[in-house]
């Protein structure tokens, strides 16, 4: 009963007793388990919606709170982002503000989603 296992990739036939002892004897009833899993998935999805919605609101509040009178930050960049800065400068200040706000929400949302996975 205690013969050593061979070098092949499969368990050997001589392990019948052990296989018999250790085999799963029955199929577990899954109704309650199934309901619990689906309920937890639903709960987690709801939490995600609240987190992302809350993040969007917080980002909006934060951006509005720190908004300078003249919102010209992107047009003052002198890095490889010059072209982007020119595009942003061409847009209205409110447009730039919205773009940055959306970027904040997007980054936060992606980070949170990745973290939850």
């Amino acid at each position: 009963m205690t013969e050593s296992i061979g070098d092949d990739d499969q368990p050997q036939c001589g392990n019948f007793l052990l296989e018999n002892l250790l085999s799963y004897k029955s199929q577990l009833d899954g109704k309650a388990f199934h309901a619990n899993v689906m309920a937890r998935i639903e709960q987690r999805s709801r939490q995600r919606r609240w987190v992302l919605g809350g993040a969007a609101i917080l980002a909006a509040i934060a951006v509005i709170a720190v908004k300078p009178e003249e919102f010209s930050f992107p047009s003052t960049l002198h890095l490889p982002l010059e072209n982007l800065g020119a595009i942003a400068a061409a847009a209205s200040p409110h447009g730039s503000l919205m773009a940055i706000m959306l970027a904040c929400v997007f980054i936060f949302g992606v980070t949170k989603t990745v973290d939850s996975i």
Partner: protein
């Protein structure tokens, strides 16, 4: 005709939630029983980790590449969840105290499942894992290597040690009857 796992996954990814239900029904029992063996009979804990496993499956099915079977993939998630749980909470009794031998001998309700769970307490976590994947799930050594990330030599030695221990425990059990 029963749909294959690949068909169910493909349908789920197009928005058919019923396909996930089918996958859940198909794999809930083996995954729960696998974790019951790993936790040496802590059914509540095993079910909790199993639920977490299927929730992860739900959110990660779109990243399932299909380079292993769904069963192997799920066992891998379950095992990692189990390890994470062990790191967070040292709730399970992994004691190698010889006194626990008596727990096997004096247990009056000897259904084979209870006996197996009692026997599992006498194995190390790795022995439990490898023996269960090999003899209960029926995985090959290379599949076990995929689930655990352990080298083949280590897997073989854990299985061998687990088998030897189980054989000795069964002998003791027979003698005490």
């Amino acid at each position: 005709m029963q749909k294959t796992d690949s068909e169910l996954i493909a349908r789920f990814l197009t928005g058919d939630q019923d396909s996930f239900d089918d996958l859940l029904k198909r794999y809930q029992s083996p995954i729960r029983q696998f974790l019951r063996r790993l936790t040496a009979g802590d059914h509540a804990l095993a079910d909790d980790i199993s639920q977490e496993t299927f929730i992860k499956m739900f959110y990660n099915l779109n990243s399932f590449r299909g380079d292993c079977s769904v069963s192997t993939w799920l066992h891998t998630i379950a095992y990692r969840n189990f390890l994470r749980h062990m790191e967070l909470v040292s709730k399970i009794d992994y004691d190698d105290d010889p006194e626990s031998m008596n727990a096997i001998g004096t247990h009056h309700d000897h259904t084979s499942e209870i006996l197996v769970e009692q026997l599992m307490k006498r194995l190390s976590v790795n022995e439990r894992l490898m023996v269960t994947l090999s003899f209960s799930v029926g995985m090959s050594h290379s599949e076990i290597a995929e689930v655990t990330g352990a080298p083949l030599g280590t897997i073989k030695s854990h299985i061998n040690r687990g088998k030897t221990k189980l054989a000795e425990l069964m002998d003791t059990e027979e003698r005490t009857k």
